[in-house]
Symmetry: C2
Subunit: 283 residues, 2 copies
Amino acid sequence: MKYYLILTLALALSFAAHSKAEDTPDQWRTLDLDKTILLELETGPVIIELNPQFAPKHVEQISKLVTAGEYDGQSFYRVIDNFVAQGGMNVETTTKLPLLKLESDHQLTASDHFSMVSNKDMFVENTAFLNGFAIGFETKSRMSWLLHCPGIVGLSRQNEPDTGSSDFYITIGQAPRYLDRIMTVFGRVVFGMEHVQKLNRTESIEGDTLDRSIHSKIIKMQMMSDVPKAKRILIEVERTDTEQFEKKLIARMTREHPFFYIKPPQVLDVCQVPVNSRLVTSH
Amino acid sequence: MKYYLILTLALALSFAAHSKAEDTPDQWRTLDLDKTILLELETGPVIIELNPQFAPKHVEQISKLVTAGEYDGQSFYRVIDNFVAQGGMNVETTTKLPLLKLESDHQLTASDHFSMVSNKDMFVENTAFLNGFAIGFETKSRMSWLLHCPGIVGLSRQNEPDTGSSDFYITIGQAPRYLDRIMTVFGRVVFGMEHVQKLNRTESIEGDTLDRSIHSKIIKMQMMSDVPKAKRILIEVERTDTEQFEKKLIARMTREHPFFYIKPPQVLDVCQVPVNSRLVTSH
């Protein structure tokens, strides 16, 4: 009885989270292991999918640093609840690195199979999904860029635009969309976001006091292709260029489930649409 | 040198988080201890401010249950990353409780000193802050309701609207605004949100499997006024009806800091504006 009610409640509210479509094989894609990072934290593993289409130079430099083991043993030194978890490496290394030019805009071409989400976003003319990433784009120019939704990975910088090299942040709260286009997004967390959320916050509820004693360690960062086969975590991510995914977008907007006894406004916040992933259990 | 650069980076990105205004005494208000809940989790303490203005019957019933110790030793049995942490009590108690009628709409009056945030929100005509809570309202009717921003506390229910009684959820990710007005929001977390984020997720990355072994315990829930004085956690929260707060809203929109070498769109997502709180250290 207890379990039954819990399940009922769970199912009811869960429908609000994500409606499930039938599972067909081509709904999923595997990740390119050369473009995937395994970030090991004391709270658990995190998998990051890189985006060389929008940020090729960033992906190149970060991948090199990862391969060289430069992040191993470093830390997340700035973690603000509902904002970002920022980590990186020791300054001796950082100062020797080439600074990266901001990479943001990408002109959409006919081969970019995006799924349209909304033309009512607050920050940009159109929102969509392209290869699993939330993007914004302009109708006329077809210029697009990656959006600061929860779980994206971007390059930290100082005040000037082209001043980042190695340190990065993962967004852990309500999308800080005001950073779109003025920070380089080069990846997204596709697994283990809860392990990022479990990092110690380094700041008090008010202010910027940094307490080095509670910094969370980066145990290891590796390209997944460099991880010994037995230790790899293989996942598949939901494709966002399928009819199934477009149906899911519509389902999230129309909310046919009886839980929605009054239908919400027919709009979608692109950052509130989960792009699912799943462990590959047989390989 | 290391510390210096980290600080610089921190300050640079931190400006993106919240610009600080001068600290004047009337910027802050203390919480009514009879309308404040101390929720003790194994991950740390959480403080919830109740909202009797919008949800009087909910506040009444939940407060009674808290005072009776009904939540003590219960659990968060459904925690989905980037969505909700849902907790509650044993069904033997739940089934005996009166069901609560949904409480959402409140007609704004002249005595409601709200701070306007935006008339460009996706989900509602206007957004604003009223007594620390994010609200939406209609221009003509002046009808208002509490919004599902991160960290709000709402009452779980089944498919029918008036079917909740005791179990509740805390939003832990991108605002699920499609739940506005069809779920009752009766409080918000004003302290310890990171402790909610540290709860074990009860579901796999894909699906609704509930694993009871990893349910997180509610150690104790008490009205703060019932907590022995020595054990109280006293905090002040930022007032949202001050000139200071309105200036902060404008500052978050205009972004004068040089970090914003290109200014973002002049809009504000009400759910991305932090309402600060701070520990009262002398009393």
